[in-house]
């Protein structure tokens, strides 16, 4: 059969990872049709996907994640993968928070690929040493360190321009300042009371305070250029998901020695996840359905999970994997993933489309980003906007 896979892993390590999947499928005698569309964190890919579905010509699998899976399933275009899941024991090998996302009305409709931890703080030890600061573990320490870095003539926080970067920082602050319960209520359930609470106000003012430690050229900067500032020691730290690691490695830096990966301040005991997954579409041709199921199986296979995540810098979504080949950051990440899955401190990342439907996410992102970028806006104003945005359906 033939599998056509729509994804936006088009370059670098991601592309290598996708190539691994392709090889796996080809080994099973299927043809792989690559449908890669990069750009805007999948915006273009979504556009293509929609028109493909509308034209009655859906791909076998498409990179969709989070609550969007539910939206697609609701349109009745996704296939039921329960037989594969049962055979491969997906229920057992996935944390419930994750498997819930992969299911619509109790049936599997998607296969998860990896987990990104979003709440990381990347730091340059050299810079910290120069400033005489230590890597912060909570927000108070964060600002102390930032102040020290600033005094030393180093940009304390490297930041970039896209609104998802603002949002990523925001969710880290929310988790660190408000804690797991607050995060779940406010940013997963979108509870208006919580969104309108003093805690929220506190979160927002802390968030805004971070901005004062970024440089003024941040807007318009790509995230990886921000990372480069940390690498070069021009900046002290960056709040960014684990994909930033790839930049350090590519620059020939070693984890622990040349750079530090630490949980974002105040979030050591929790984990914001960003799970990439493939939604599986209803197909007409039986041979292709067979290939599609093999794809699903392959995605969840331990071999692929290892290979893929080694390339991508994330960690396997499958529990109980051996992590010897992974680096220290990944190992930490993996351990925390397993631990938080048990404690319930494993929370979906709102900034990366895991927590709420895309319309609400977008609206909240707009509000947060506006607050970040508009100096005269007060936390109270922002709160009102976020509450309103959260009502978007």
């Amino acid at each position: 059969g033939e599998v056509e896979v729509l994804h936006w892993w088009t370059a670098g390590g991601e592309a290598k990872a996708a190539a691994a999947l392709k090889a796996t499928l080809q080994a099973k005698g299927h043809t792989w049709k690559d449908f890669a569309v990069a750009g805007g964190g999948g915006d273009s890919a979504m556009t293509v996907l929609k028109s493909r579905v509308v034209s009655g010509n859906a791909p076998a699998a498409a990179q969709i994640k989070g609550p969007s899976l539910q939206e697609w399933a609701r349109e009745g275009v996704l296939a039921n993968m329960d037989d594969v899941a049962k055979a491969e024991k997906w229920d057992e090998s996935l944390p419930k928070v994750v498997s819930d996302i992969m299911k619509y009305k109790g049936n599997y409709i998607a296969a998860p690929v990896n987990v990104h931890r979003v709440n990381w703080l990347w730091a340059n030890p050299e810079a910290f040493k120069k400033a005489g600061a230590k890597v912060p573990t909570n927000w108070d320490e964060f600002f102390v360190a930032a102040e020290a870095l600033k005094k030393a003539g180093i940009t304390p926080v490297a930041h970039g321009g896209q609104n998802w970067q603002d949002f990523t920082t925001f969710e880290a602050v929310a988790l660190g300042v408000g804690g797991v319960e607050f995060y779940k209520k406010a940013l997963v359930q979108l509870d208006p009371a919580t969104l309108n609470s003093p805690t929220m106000e506190n979160v927002l003012s802390t968030f805004k305070k971070v901005k004062s430690y970024t440089d003024k050229n941040a807007p318009g900067r790509d995230w990886n250029l921000a990372t480069a500032m940390v690498i070069k020691g021009e900046a002290g730290m960056q709040i960014m998901g684990d994909w930033a690691k790839g930049e350090f490695i590519a620059a020939g830096k070693a984890p622990g020695k040349d750079f530090v990966c630490a949980p974002a301040p105040g979030t050591a005991k929790s984990f914001t996840f960003n799970v990439d997954s493939f939604a599986l579409f209803k197909l007409k041709n039986d041979a292709n359905v067979k290939a599609q199921k093999d794809l699903a199986t392959a995605i969840m296979s331990p071999e692929f999970q290892e290979l893929f995540n080694l390339n991508k810098g994330s960690i396997p979504v499958r529990l109980g994997m051996k992590m010897d080949k992974f680096d220290d950051c990944a190992k930490t990440s993996s351990a925390d993933f397993v631990a938080t899955a048990k404690t319930g401190a494993l929370v979906p990342s709102i900034a990366h489309g895991m927590a709420v439907p895309s319309a609400a996410e977008g609206a909240i992102k707009d509000a947060v980003s506006q607050f970040w970028n508009t100096d005269k806006m007060t936390p109270k104003d922002a709160m009102a906007k976020i509450v309103a945005a959260a009502k978007t359906k």
């Binding site: 088009t10 370059a11 392709k22 792989w32 929609k50 070069k232 994909w243 590519a250």
Partner: protein, 291 residues
């Protein structure tokens, strides 16, 4: 030709001012191109360390080679080459068809007016203003019905349809300027509708053909949105390839390769403008400009 001829050719103050401002504008217009070119010849280290406008210390074509034949765009690591070929295969029929249709429409709308033809022309013109995004979903559906969704043919069809209003506009405005007597003379000479078109009108259309071909070529070659939505897995045009190469959200960026890829994608249109730019202005002068 129109410049007053007494303008003294000697270097007066005004003349110097003129050249200075022309030069400054030229700098402004050239800077982005320079940045792209310079970057494409630098190494990644140089890009990280140096400044935007500095010349490459040791220019290298490595990035160009990578972009052309070995950069990864998705699971294929064949560089932009296949995309480039796809674009060529798609652009040629689309440009030729839309131009020919425009020429025929223009011929009828200027030389064989019938009741309501002006009104139809106005309706057609309004189409120029339709935002492209509106087209995407319904067109997909239609292409699905026609069975040419996700194929080059679907993409060509969309480009042809989208191009008709402007090509018709260009040709009509040009043909309005052709003397009606030519058509009348040909009719008296015994030529029919098609003979007049092929033997008289089309051979006289060179200037406007150049304008329209350039215009359509640029538009279709540079199009991303239709290309990404309507093409199939093996027929993606160069802009999609470029986008896939350069626009990744979570991986290491190789700016020199990105810029080399961008330059490769831009070369055909640049080439056309540089070589045929003269004819472009000339063609506009010959009549396309008129309301």
């Amino acid at each position: 030709m129109s410049a007053p001829s007494t303008l003294s050719p000697r270097l007066s103050l005004g003349r110097i001012l003129l050249f200075v401002s022309l030069g400054l504008f030229a700098l402004f217009f050239l800077t982005p191109l320079y940045v792209m070119l310079a970057t494409s010849f630098k190494t990644m280290d140089e890009i990280r360390e140096g400044t935007l406008l500095s010349l490459p210390a040791s220019p290298s074509f490595a990035a160009w080679a990578t972009a052309w034949s070995s950069a990864c765009t998705g699971t294929d690591c064949g560089g932009l080459k296949p995309f480039f070929m796809n674009s060529v295969m798609m652009v040629i029929p689309a440009v030729l068809t839309s131009t020919l249709i425009g020429a025929l429409n223009g011929y009828v709308l200027s030389k064989w007016k019938f009741k309501g033809s002006e009104f139809m022309f106005a309706l057609l013109l309004f189409g120029v203003f339709m935002p492209m995004q509106v087209v995407l979903l319904p067109m997909s559906q239609v292409l699905g019905w026609l069975g040419i969704a996700s194929s080059v043919w679907g993409l060509i069809l969309v480009h042809v349809i989208a191009g008709i209003p402007s090509t018709t506009l260009f040709f009509r405005n040009y043909y309005v300027g052709l003397p009606d007597e030519l058509i009348k003379a040909a009719m008296l000479d015994g030529a029919n509708f098609w003979q007049i078109f092929w033997r008289i009108v089309l051979p006289l259309s060179t200037p406007i053909l150049v304008v329209t071909l350039i215009w359509q070529f640029t538009n279709i070659w540079n199009d991303f949105l239709y290309g990404v939505v309507f093409s199939g897995a093996d027929s993606k045009p160069i802009t999609v390839g470029l986008n896939n190469l350069a626009n990744t959200s979570s991986s290491v960026k190789e700016y020199n390769v990105d810029m080399a890829a961008a330059m490769i994608a831009a070369l055909p249109t640049l080439f056309v403008y540089i070589v045929a730019g003269k004819y472009f202005v000339r063609g506009l002068t010959a009549g396309a400009v008129k309301g």
